[in-house]
């Protein structure tokens, strides 16, 4: 049957099993919106700003593992989506972004709402396409989903000129697609895996360091079996939290700039480092010269370019984390060799001494609401089982430190790009994917105002997100650095004329609660989770103004040079 380009777009989404598309209409995508109107299979969520659409699709993808889908118009529609595309790119999130484009005869003429979307997004996508012929549309859509979701995932942009969406052609969706220049390696090299296991089992002080790759690859179970067999301490990066249950004895917390003392000291002093689906980011390694000075490093990653990029690796294993971990676990079953029990006992004694420092303790008798306390209470009030979506700043670090995650895909945050404004729209996407689950957005008065307009979207679709606003009247992380490194010259890190968030929430049709005393924290959280379970609740916690995130590795220092409180 002959279909228009617009109808083909919608059919392709159906074929891919897409249930939700986040978007905003405009001139260049009117044909596509008309095609959406005529069907009920793919639901379109109308956001209030294109940045919100990309973050929502991103949150949807992070919490489900399925690709997020975005539809925006040409020109400003595409440019507004750029921050969200870059956010997804830096965290390797599978996403397909459809952008409208002016009709082909107008391309290059500085037409109304024309930008070179393919050019603008080129450095922040895994790949992108300009569809020049309606006959190519179905295969381009297939390729877009294939590339976005395989290998190291990432966003793919498909730019579709308006006239292409009006042209007709015979539609058939390709079952399989081959891209001759794209072959991600999924199976790890057996020889390398054997070699790595030998080194790991010979270790006296092994350490496991895992990142977002374990979550992207759905390899938590395999990781847990492996870690149990090896018996080593294990740390997760900010992106990897939840991949290993935080309540397990072997877990030593997050590592890096605001990681735990025990995680960073274990890293620094280990003799074999097993890095899995992690990319040795600068917030993790600190000073590269001082990084893991005596470790033999094994690195499992699906992206060959991640290997030996920042830190020289001794045994690289390129492959999908899940498959490689399965291979490790099989080998562990087949071999009689076991870790050196005496050495492991001594190593754990040392690790537990570091742990006894209790680096996350904080002053509780100040009479003010401590942000850490709010997060701990939130953990209890949600039975530790909420989807916690964070914005970017101090509150993000507090949430990562004080909300222990036992399951993957429950902790959703912008780790790579650090995008303020990510939280609320991403939480919206998570809630859309999990209508019956508790979804909280941990944010601050700075971040929340960057995408506050999405409160209207939440009302339109009945999304009962719980917003935990840690309001310290400062851009806290900026202020903290200014306190430490700029002699407290607080240049532009304060906020005057803050809105009344309770009234604001109410104006958008939601529930607003202001909490000013520590003793009222829990009651407000409980109320939000029970009485207002089905409503969006905005809780404005007036917190300690100048609380800092500890512990901390200052710029240029090694992992063993933390500032403790």
């Amino acid at each position: 049957m002959e279909l228009t380009g617009a109808e083909i777009v919608v059919q392709c989404l159906k074929e891919e099993g897409v249930e939700h598309v986040f978007g905003y209409p405009g001139g260049a995508v009117l044909h596509i919106y008309d095609a959406f109107y005529k069907q009920d299979d793919v639901k379109h969520i109308l956001v209030r700003h294109e940045q919100g659409a990309t973050h929502a699709a991103d949150g949807y993808a992070r919490s489900t593992g399925k690709p997020g889908v975005v539809l925006v118009t040409s020109g400003p529609g595409a440019t507004n989506a750029v921050t969200g595309i870059a956010t997804a790119y830096l965290d390797s999130i599978p996403m397909v972004v459809l952008t409208g484009q002016v009709p082909r005869p107008l391309i290059g003429n500085d037409a109304f709402q024309e930008v070179d979307s393919v050019g603008i997004t080129r450095p922040i996508v895994k790949h992108n396409f300009l569809v020049e012929d309606v006959k190519d549309l179905a295969s381009v859509m297939k390729k877009a989903f294939y590339i976005a979701t395989t290998g190291r995932p990432g966003p793919v942009v498909v730019d579709i000129p308006k006239d292409v969406t009006a042209h007709k052609t015979e539609f058939s969706y390709p079952r399989d697609i081959k891209v001759r220049s794209y072959h991600p390696t999924v199976k790890g090299h057996t020889g390398q895996i054997k070699k790595a296991l030998d080194i790991i089992l010979d270790a006296k002080c092994p350490m496991i360091y895992t990142g977002g790759g374990v979550i992207l690859s759905n390899a938590s179970e395999e990781l847990v079996s492996f870690a149990r067999a090896i018996g080593a301490p294990i740390t997760n990066t900010l992106m990897g939290l939840g991949a290993y249950p935080a309540s397990d004895e072997q877990f030593v917390g997050m590592l890096g700039m605001h990681g735990t003392y025990e995680a960073n000291m274990s890293m620094h002093n280990c003799d074999v480092l097993i890095a899995i689906g992690a990319r040795f980011d600068d917030r993790v390694t600190g000073n590269l010269e001082k990084f893991c000075p005596s470790a033999t490093i094994v690195h499992v990653d699906i992206d060959p370019a991640s290997i030996s990029k920042n830190v020289k690796v001794d045994v690289p294993i390129v492959g999908d984390v899940k498959q490689v971990m399965e291979d490790f676990n099989k080998l562990l079953q087949d071999t009689k060799k076991r870790p050196d029990a005496a050495a492991m006992k001594a190593w754990w004694k040392q690790v537990n001494e570091w742990r006894a420092q209790d680096c996350l303790k904080y002053d509780t008798d100040t009479g003010t609401i401590k942000p850490q306390y709010v997060i701990q209470q939130l953990h209890e009030a949600t039975d530790g089982d909420a989807f916690v979506v964070s914005d970017v700043g101090q509150h993000q670090m507090f949430a990562a430190q004080y909300y222990p995650f036992d399951k993957p895909r429950r902790w959703i945050n912008s780790g790579g790009l650090g995008t303020m404004g990510f939280g609320l729209p991403a939480a919206m996407g998570v809630q859309m994917a999990h209508p019956d689950e508790t979804v909280v957005c941990v944010t601050g008065e700075g971040s929340i105002q960057m995408c506050i307009q999405e409160l209207a979207t939440c009302l339109q679709y009945g999304l009962p997100v719980k917003i935990i606003n840690l309001n310290n009247r400062f851009l806290g992380m900026v202020r903290q650095w200014q306190e430490f490194f700029y002699e407290k010259r607080y240049a532009m890190s304060y906020m005057e004329s803050l809105p009344d968030f309770v009234k604001l929430a109410e104006a958008y049709g939601h529930i607003g609660i202001k909490v000013e005393k520590p003793e009222d924290v829990r009651a407000a959280l409980d109320k939000a989770m029970t009485e207002y379970k089905d409503r969006l609740v905005f809780i404005d916690f007036i917190t300690d103004r100048e609380e800092n995130v500890y512990p901390m590795i200052p710029a240029g220092a090694g992992l063993n040079e933390m500032i403790l409180i």
């Binding site: 080129r122 790949h127 060959p304 370019a305």
Partner: protein, 165 residues
């Protein structure tokens, strides 16, 4: 230690493929000394030659990052084994009185050809490795050079192995 590398790339012959490669070099602050690209006998493929320089670690990253681009089909660092390098140069130079015969002599020595002649100028075509072309320009010394056009290096591996699909 920084060393010159010549990277040969088979690239999808599609619009935008060139800017993906060029964009990668600028975004990641890698050097490009020269870059040439043209379609091959298979019209769906272009062959690109990039001359770059960097430490072993940087060049390894360049190769990996290039390989990650979806439009890159295959690539090879020619400088890893034995190869042939060629560059084409067109140079318009002074050819008056004494210079006229001197230029002709030098062009012969360097196996260049004079392909355009006016009363006052010669235009010389010359191929070879970049160093040879540099040497010719140096040898012209006092003779005025009006215009130089260089293609950038292209290269091919020696022996029977070839960079094909």
């Amino acid at each position: 230690m920084n060393r010159k590398h010549i990277i040969s790339i088979l690239l999808e012959n599609e619009s935008g493929a060139l800017s993906r490669v060029a964009g990668l070099f600028s975004a990641r602050a890698y050097n490009i000394e020269s870059l040439t690209v043209a379609p091959t006998d298979d019209e769906t493929l272009s062959r690109m030659t990039v001359v770059t320089s960097g430490t072993e670690e940087i060049v390894e990253q360049i190769m990996k990052q290039l390989n990650k681009l979806v439009d890159v089909v295959k690539l090879i660092d020619l400088t890893e084994s034995s190869f042939i390098e060629r560059e084409l140069m067109l140079a318009k130079v002074e050819a008056t009185s004494d210079a006229r015969s001197e230029v002709k002599r030098l062009a012969d020595i360097f196996r260049g050809r004079i392909i355009d002649v006016t009363d006052n100028t010669y235009t010389i075509e010359m191929t070879g490795k970049g160093e040879k072309l540099d040497a010719f320009l140096t040898a012209l010394s006092s003779i005025s050079i009006y215009e130089v056009v260089r293609s950038g290096a292209i290269g091919i591996g020696r022996g029977e192995k070839s960079l094909t699909l």
